[in-house]
Amino acid sequence: MTTVQRIWRFKRRLIKLTASKCLKCGYIAYPPKHACPRCGSRDLVSLDLPSRGRIETYTILNVPIKGFENSLPLIIALIRLGDALVMSEVINVKPEEVREGMEVEATIAPSARTLDGAIPYVVKFKPVEGSRKP
C-alpha cells in the first residue's frame, strides 16, 4: 500500500504522463527511465505524451488485490499514446463496452486509499465522446 510521501514524490508524473526519450537512439520509454533501456545512454529528455489515444489491450479484473476490494470490476488497459504505451484504469464505461482500438482520453480521478489514509488523484482514462459504438 503506497504512502502519501511516495505519491507526493511522483505526483507530477502521475498526472502529466511524462515519458523519457533517448537523444542518442530515439527510444521512448514509459515509465520514464534514468538511462535508455535500449542503448544505455543517459542523455535523455522528458516527453509529455498526448492525452488522447487508443486502447491496445485491456483486462477486466473480477478478483481483487488487497485495497481494491470495492473497485470491482476493475478495467485496466494498455493505451497507445503517440509512440508510447501507458497502463491505466478506464472509467466511465461498462465492462461490456470496452474494446481494443477504443479511443480514450486522460482525466484525473481518485485512486484507492494509501496506507496512511489519503486518497491520491491519478491519471485515468475515459472514452472519447462518440467512441462507444464500434
Binding site: F10, I60, I76, E89
Partner: protein, 381 residues
Amino acid sequence: MNKVFVIGVGMTKVGRHVDKSLRDLAAEASFKAIEEAKGEKPEVIVVGNMLSSLIEQENLASLIADHIGLRGVSGFKVEGACGSGGAAILAGYSLIASGLFKRVLVVGVEKLNERPTPDTSRGLAWAADADYELIYGVSFAGLNALVMRYYMSKHKITREEMGLWPVLMHENGYYNPYAHLRKKVTLEEVINSPIIADPIRLYDACPISDGAAAIYLASEDIARKLTDTPIKIAGIGNALDSTDLTSRYELDELLAARLSTQKALSMAGVSIDDIDVAEIHDAYSIVAMLSIEGIGFAPKGKAPKLLSEGRFKPGDRPTLNPSGGLKSRGHPVGATGVYQVAEIVMQLRGDFPGIKVNAELGLAQNIGGVGSNITTIILSR
C-alpha cells in the same frame, strides 16, 4: 571455471500446507537432498524465496540453516520474484564454478497460504512496477491477461487453442505424487471456468501453493565421491527485461526467455533441437506459449498451433512439463525454479515418480514477473 553437478534433490508435496510452516517445508526438502548426498554437510545454503515478508519473516538463510543443523555455514537469500528459485541456483552454481566452495545446498521455499487471498495477490503483484502499475490495483493475473488478449488478437488464436495447455498439464500432473492439483480436466471445463481477469479464466492460472524443493550442488571431485548418478549443470543463463509492461520492445515476446536460453545453450555447447525434456514456467496459459516460443520450441505466435497438432505430450520430443507444470504441480513461487531443476534431474536419472521421459538432456526455465527475470538451465546425464 569448475564444473558443477547436482548430487541430491528433495521436495515436499506442493499444496495448501496449513499444518506446516515455512521452516518445516524447507527442512523436509533439505533433509531429502542432503540424504541423497550421503549426508555430506553443505558449506553454504542459498535460499530462493519471494514473499516471506508477507508472513513477516526475512533472514531466511540463517533461519533455515539453523533449523536443519547447519549453524555456522555461509548463506543468503536470493529474490527475483517468481524467478527466485532459478536465480538462487545461478548464485549457488557460481559459488562452485568460481572455486570458492565445493558443497552448496540451494533451497527454494514459499508459504503463500498463510494470508487471505487478496493479501497474497497483492504480494504477487509486487513483481510489477509499484509506482506505475500496482497503483491502479492490477493483479498479477491482470498483467498476464493484458498480454494474453494482445497475443490472441495479433496471432488470431482461439479460446479453444489457448485451453489446450491446461488440459495437457492436468493430464501430466495427475501422475505426479508431488503435484498440488491432481485431477484431469476437459477443454470444456477450462474454457467455461470462472473469469479471474478477462480473458484469463481459473483454469488458465496456476494455484496459490506452498512448498519447498532443494538441490545439492557439488564440485566434480565431491560428486564422483558421493554418487554414481551425478547430473551436470551443462549450461545456465539469466536475463532481465523491464519490470513494467509498457516499455517492452514487444508485448508478445519474452526477450529474457530468448536471451537466457541463448546463454545456457552456448555454455552447454548444444542446440535447442538436442533437448529431450523441459520444465517450463506456465504460471498462466499465455506464459506457457511465450516461454515455448522464447526458448525456440515454436516460432513466434505458433505454440498454440503446435499444441493443437499434438506436440509436446509424453512420447514427443521435447516432452514439456511431465510434472504437470505450474498449472497442476503448482507454483510455490520462490521454490518453483528449484522444483523444475529437481524434476529434470530425476528425469535424467530415471527416477521421477510420475510420467517418465527417456532423456539425455533437459532444460528448465523459471520466469519472474511477466518475463522480467528469467533463468534457463540445461542439465545433462
